[in-house]
């Protein structure tokens, strides 16, 4: 069964106030140990613990800089814990940024194999899903053209089709991605919902509270790197809405 266990997780970022220390500074620093360090620590995730069991649909809310994306990246092993630990059971699909790892000089087809390998798909598996990806992204004519000649829409379509081609056990989503023409957005949304439904565990970060209300069973509210509230989606979202000032419509 899939499960995510996060235990007392902390992630620290070092902020260098002037610039990255060069070799010269480092050598100079060796002889002047008393020189005040021009770094400060920023705990993007600060002693966070939670556990996600199979079947749960978890939304993460919070203001910008609350540590939501850092937490997601830690779940996907991009950031290693400074302290504490994360255990993930199950095949994880990180849909954090679409098209990460596409090479502009490679053709669409070559990128299916390159990016597919990066996403953890096997070669045989890629051969099976290649046609379906091409058909879904509607790129039959251009699949052997280098992706640097693609329009943004074509690029996003291919990346989306590839990223969602295999049903993952655990789906980690940062915001919602979709692109291209209206027709494709409809198709992408349908497919996204299918993948979300099929996933054993979903963890999603979004500012779209209505969306979270619709798809999540549980919501974690992050604030300044800590868990402020964690519970059933409706309750936490209500708390969150009450505390955050009602959005002021911008008059244009």
């Amino acid at each position: 069964m899939s499960r995510i266990t996060v235990e007392d997780l902390s992630i620290r970022f070092r902020i260098y106030h002037d610039r990255s220390p060069s070799l010269k500074d480092y050598v100079a620093g060796l002889f002047r140990p008393s020189r005040p360090a021009s770094v400060s620590d920023f705990w993007a995730v600060n002693h966070v613990s939670f556990r996600v069991e199979a079947g749960e649909r978890v939304g993460i809310v919070g203001h910008n800089g609350a540590g939501k994306s850092t937490l997601l990246k830690a779940l996907c092993r991009i950031y290693e814990p400074t302290s504490g630990g994360i255990q993930v059971h199950g095949r994880i699909a990180p849909l954090l940024e679409i098209g990460a790892g596409f090479h502009p000089e490679f053709s669409g087809r070559e990128n299916i194999y390159l990016n597919g390998a990066i996403l953890g798909y096997g070669k045989g598996q890629l051969r099976e899903i290649e046609q379906e990806i091409i058909a879904f992204s509607e790129l039959e004519e251009f699949i052997d053209t280098p992706v640097k000649y693609y329009s943004t829409g074509m690029y996003l379509r291919l990346a989306f089709a590839l990223a969602t081609a295999v049903q993952p056990e655990i789906l980690i989503l940062d915001e919602m991605f979709a692109g291209g023409d209206a027709n494709f957005v409809r198709k992408a949304t349908t497919r996204m919902h299918k993948v979300i439904e099929g996933a054993n565990i979903l963890v999603v970060v979004s500012h779209d509270l209505a969306l979270l209300e619709r798809i999540c069973t549980r919501v974690i509210w992050m604030d300044h790197g800590k868990v402020k509230s964690d519970g059933p989606a409706e309750e936490v979202l209500r708390e969150y809405r009450e505390e955050t000032a009602p959005p002021v419509a911008l008059a244009v």
Binding site: S22, I78, E80, L96, A100, E105
Partner: protein, 268 residues
């Protein structure tokens, strides 16, 4: 005790992951090999022709300068330059391997090892093809085609281990000290002149001669030169030194990577 079991755990994780991510590794190697000459007329041929032409020019210049016989000097020079070029390119190019893949490293998890490794494997293919061409050139140029040439693959294994250890060291170090990117070229140039590539080992006398003897690359060059130039196996002592240096370099490189792997993403 705990640190030993911890590092054993880390190493087994690396072995398991390198198996799991081998498809990515091959894709990156392919990317390295095929991308450079896309849309050029001669394509991959340039990889072979370019260094051979460069070495040819050097051979003509120095054979004239030192008043040497061109044919034998060419074989002598090529036999030293091909392994050196592999080593030097491995170190200078892997220097920025993490920095250039920042986009990937920050967006998706991949074992850090595969970035310098894919570069080195790509360059190894280039180098071995150059070596194959050289082996064909040897005959008309007066080299010896002998059974000792079968030693060349083993020489490549040792050279690869040495270069890979150094590549891991500089690739990790450059993330923390970016200045290294610019310093490394000068260092490698100095190292080149201290290695008996353009000159014979015993030709250099005087104040820096001891440096050449201490230089680990001297042994590695000899691993290639003995079979190519003299049709002999390198002496056991040379092989032992090279193997020792290779193992030490690889151990040290892995140790640096294991110690700093999780910090790399924070410093890109």
């Amino acid at each position: 005790m705990t640190s030993t079991s911890l590092s054993i755990g880390l190493i087994t994780r690396h072995v398991r992951e390198s198996h799991q991510y081998r498809d990515v590794l091959w894709q990156l190697v392919r990317q390295f090999l095929t991308l450079r000459y896309r849309r050029t007329l001669l394509g991959y041929v340039w990889t072979l022709v370019n260094p051979l032409l460069m070495m040819m020019v050097t051979a003509v210049v120095f054979a004239t300068l030192f008043k040497l016989e061109l044919a034998s000097y060419t074989v002598f020079l090529f036999a030293g330059m091909i392994p050196w070029n592999f080593f030097s390119m491995s170190v200078t190019q892997s220097c920025s391997s993490f920095i250039q893949n920042e986009g990937l490293i920050k967006k998706i998890y991949l074992p850090k090892l595969i970035f310098p490794m894919s570069l080195l494997l790509g360059m190894l293919v280039d180098s071995m093809l150059s070596m194959a061409v050289l082996s064909l050139l040897i005959l008309p140029f007066g080299g010896k085609l002998s059974a000792a040439l079968l030693f060349i693959p083993l020489a490549y294994v040792l050279l690869f281990m040495f270069a890979f250890g150094m590549a891991l060291l500089v690739s990790v170090a450059t993330v923390f000290f970016r200045d290294l990117q610019y310093v490394i070229n000068v260092l490698m140039q100095a190292w080149f002149f201290l290695t008996p590539i353009m000159y014979r080992h015993d030709a250099l006398t005087g104040k820096v001669a001891w440096l050449v003897s201490l230089n680990p690359m001297t042994s590695f060059i000899e691993l290639f030169r003995a079979p190519l130039l003299h049709g002999q196996l390198p002496s056991l002592q040379v092989v032992a030194v090279a193997a020792g240096v290779a193992a030490a370099s690889l151990t040290f490189g892995f140790w640096i990577l294991l110690a700093q792997e999780k910090n790399i993403v924070f410093r890109l």
